[in-house]
Symmetry: C2
DNA sequence: GTTTAATTGTTAATTTTTTCACAACGTGAA
DNA sequence: TTCACGTTGTGAAAAAATTAACAATTAAAC
């Protein structure tokens, strides 16, 4: 039933953050062209994206920030925090954990996993590292639906299979490999090397 | 003059890696459907993407891996390694540095920068950390064209301006903010929080 | 030599995404 | 009240990306 384009969802997530900052700064209303200036999208794009959200602004005063935010939250299904976990506590995994330590309003990292016995049992940035063998039980107990995969590329496929078995619904994959898993599991790939290479290509 | 779609470039970078692995495994020829299986793209997509590259396969034996690779390399302008730098040696910056330490065939990280005096002068993963104030001279001396920006969000805009002033051509930005800089500088945003939120949305 | 089978390059069709354009609206000024 | 202004929501147009389709090609089988 997810027929909203991925691109639109990405932008709505961005608008959510931008608008929330405006609200924190005391602003109460906002026009599409204001969001446009900060987000890089065009005003028309923003209005079109917001069509899917169940809230309408007014030609007179634009969008009421409080109501707009609520609309986006509901649309994105973020009315309650979702549970996430990190698999692989290498330097990237720990860095991401650090990012989330300063509370994120929509996600909570509830567990970390690693195969290295030197790491298991230790709390990193407020999150306990479990042995990878406990994946299935911990993920079920803590009702975790999203996994961030930061293991070395050789272990990624196997770890992904464990995650799927444990009942995970989506994976953010940082390993430079396309995971071969059930098509109903959402996978987003974030190959960091590829990202730099892309910038290199367009930097001429 | 970059009229090849960004999406196509992203995939070509991916194909380059995949095909290179096949070559390392001793394979000499490859069909579009083989790349398709590993990359997730359709065979038609792959053939279309390869149209832009100046190498043609043959209906009989598909693509000669050696020649295909050379074609992609030339098309992507990777015949010589480009210089890159990392700005901000927090945990994410150091993690990325680690990724590149195992030699990347197309990019070389030639310098790192940080404002923290405790870090400057120290070598991380083989890369020397310079004080941020030396940015302009180091970037010019070492002919660095690409920057990876991993500073805290409050410092991102200012750091980006310094980079542009120093003559950088492209920025891979990990700070959750849209940089306001000259339009001829290529910017790729990689907001890590946004990525997880996106996965959360589609994981239902 | 001829046929078969498989794959390419490319054009055309389709689908998706973005942009345009404008009627409808609501506020504040006159 | 009426008008002018600036903005929204959305249908229509345009642009971009993907997929389908197929003639052309070539190696191998026969």
């Amino acid at each position: 039933m997810n027929k909203t384009p991925q691109k639109t969802v990405e932008r709505l997530i961005q608008y959510r953050r931008i608008v929330q900052q405006m609200r924190d700064a005391g602003q109460e209303k906002v026009f599409s062209h204001q969001i446009a200036r900060v987000s890089g999208a065009s005003p028309a794009q923003i209005r079109r994206d917001l069509m899917g959200v169940g809230y309408s602004g007014s030609p007179a005063h634009g969008y009421i920030i409080h109501d707009l935010l609520q609309g986006i939250y509901e649309f994105l299904g973020l009315t309650e925090k979702k549970g996430a976990c990190i698999v692989g506590l290498g330097s990237l995994g720990r860095a991401i954990l650090g990012y989330f330590h300063e509370q994120n309003p929509v996600l909570k990292i509830k567990a970390a996993f690693d195969t290295d016995p030197a790491k298991t049992g230790i709390v990193f940035h407020g999150t306990l590292c479990h042995p990878a063998s406990d994946m299935a039980s911990v993920i079920r107990d803590k009702e975790i639906t999203v996994a961030i995969l930061t293991v070395p590329v050789e272990q990624a496929q196997q770890a992904a299979q464990q995650l799927v078995y444990a009942g995970i619904r989506g994976i953010l994959n940082y390993a430079p490999v396309v995971l071969d898993i059930r098509p109903d599991i959402f996978v987003e790939n974030r190959d960091m090397i590829q990202a730099v290479e892309k910038v290199a290509y367009f930097s001429k």
